[in-house]
Amino acid sequence: MTGSKHPASAATLADPVLEIRDLSVALPAWADRPLAVKSVSLTVGRGETLCVVGESGSGKSVMARSILRLLPEPHLRIAGGQILLDGEDLARADDRRMRQIRGGEISMVFQEPMVSLNPLMTVGRQIDEILEVHTNWSKAERRRRVIATFEDVRLPEPERIVGAYPHELSGGQRQRVMIAMSLVLEPKLIIADEPTTALDVTTEAQVLTLLKELQTKHGTALLFITHNFGVVAEIADRVAVMRYGELVEYGPAAEVLEHPQHPYTRALIDAVPSLVPRKHPKPDATAPSESILMVRALEKTYGRAASGPNWLARVLPGLGRGRRSAVKAVNRVDLEIRRGSAVALVGESGSGKSTLARCLIGLEQADAGSAMIAGDEIVGLSRSDWRPLRSRVQMVFQDPFASLNPRTKVGDIIARGAILQGVNPETAMDQARTLLGLVGLDARAAERYPHEFSGGQRQRIGIARALAVKPEILIADEPVSALDVSVQKQVLDLLDDLRRQFGLTMLFITHDLRVAAHVCEEIVVLKNGTIVERGMTADIFANPQHDYTRTLLASVPGRNWQRRGHPEAPAPLGQ
């Protein structure tokens, strides 16, 4: 095994809290490989952060869960090796002992805070329950401790939040509650399984800072699982890289990030899009290109604006919260996109970027304003009036697993759009085969079904489908956020190539500034349905005008790591 060569420094750690020796976890007989985790050896020292990095299917989560024995036995079971917590082997501990350890000595923070919290219990009570099980403190003592922990994780108004239900909190607050829950018994080790993946960038940055601070304060060891090298650069002391259940590289963070030994690690690090903004394309000598998409004062409101509270809420004011008030998802947006340009629409969840895109492609009807595609008004068009315009604008969807009909052959999926435009089926199928070649797939893929392809390949099929009708504008709605890191860059480069080849205009929706910088020359920053800043990517990165843009830039994890050697990358705040 390659892992055994280099981590000499890691294996002889002075004061290990957790020591995993030759751990193997067996998969059920019908899986694609016999072992999910293949003789992995790791140590986590007191007060240090070990990041385990890997793509989906690398066995990193299974490894983490096997430490607490949270595997779905008997399908997945520990097949060999030891898990030593201060010398005690957890792989052989009985259930009673494991219950004491879970939460008490080792605790876990999961990825999705909404599903990890019980929606019918106040968050205070959920933490109180842990104390009730593990300690014999009085009710008042427990309450004091819960509030103190909430203060620790910097939840605003801890007294109030104790009585709040999970749905009343924001995503970041929920993850803070989860961290409070894992901290409340002062465990020796916290296992965090992609705790920031479901959060917005700005929230992610706050949660990472918080974790780091708490770790210094309490001296807790942290085993942090992630697929994001930016996050690794931000918090890791040491790094372990996993692939197909094996440890391929293991060592101090600085060393692994700067001088990766294993080709796989190098590939993963190279696949992280840099924060270096792309240069302007050479100014086109032919003509200043005309505008192809013109949006004026576009508005879209969700919820009921006009009706107000219902009759009962009017009669008994104060009783019941009533209906949520209307949300302006898109609020008087003006936007102009010139032919052949690539514009990134950047914003966090709830900024209205997807709604704006859906209005432009006719999946949603805007309430007011105007949007012209190459001179034709699209606001207010009926479904049938839209049909002739369909060949002008197409969309690449976010989730490659949901965006292809599982019961239709790939060739038919791609050819369908052209057939609807009146191309005869034979020709359309030939074009589909050509397109498959263009997006880097075999032409024979046309005869197969979507489930035979990986996520990245499916996204290529989705791109081919969008191109089949020869659109002028391509709207890409977070096309890589559901893909593995190593595939993301390939898909981005493909989009960039195709855009040049076909002279496409691209509207690229993303929450990730790295991705935006990689493919787009222009950036539009959206917040709460309004545009707060727009301009050339390079200008915005060099000199952001709006506070929110500055916060977004400063929140990108690992920006300092990537900044080295690239002076044109944005400086962090305060420098």
């Binding site: 006719g362 292809l404 009909n405 239709t408 369908r416 759009g417 609807l420 989705g462």
Partner: protein
Amino acid sequence: MSTSFWIRFLGNPRVLLGLIWLGLVVIGALAAPLIAPVDPFAITGKPFVRPMDGFLFGTDSLGRSVWAGLVHGARTTLLIAVIATLVAVAFGGMLGALSGFYGGLVDNLLMRITEFFQTIPSFIFAILLVAVLSPSATSVVVAIATVSWPPIARIVRAEVMSLRSREFIQAAVTLGERDFVILFRQILPNALSPLIVTGSLLVATAILTESALSFLGLGAPNFMSWGFMIGAGRSFLRDAWWLVAIPGIAILLTVLSINLVGEGLNDALNPRLRTP
């Protein structure tokens, strides 16, 4: 259907048991004129002959062969149940699909109609329908279909609603596909598995309803059926138990088999929802 589906489906011992019994019933029903070449209403012997005493399953109060009644009855019962189910699935499926796809006013209207049918106690409604339409094979089919379509409509509606928001449907919309094509070529094929499962279980309910109607004398006249046999034999229960027990056991086993196969279908089509 992929190979893994058939392995999961046929590898289930309960499914095999169910399929074996159902196969026997279907063969018996198809081959009725060959294995019991007499009119089931014809008097073929002395009344109340015990089973295995010249007649395989004995004779009834008028001397009609119970065996002939059983296999010819299987024809009637199965035919009526299957046709009624198909009608219910087609009608309920169509209504549910429209309701789920268009939503809003259409959905509201169609679902209120569905609820109207669901609020009436179904068996009493079926009796009423047969009584009003006068007993005949057609009216039994109509009655059973009328009381069994609402759950189908509900299931298809829920399935269509969740599929409608999937990205591949949105992709079809952005390509300019027409509504009916989206509904029939993209949505319904993906909504098929719950429909097959519910449909197969509905056959069992239809058999029970048909038998109950025939028991009350509201079945198709001039067609022998299991429910009718039980109804005719019930007054001699103490003297000639086999008149009631044999068709009763046939109903029990058939309904049980259909349920086993239906559950097996469900497990095989949705492997992740399987309860061990």
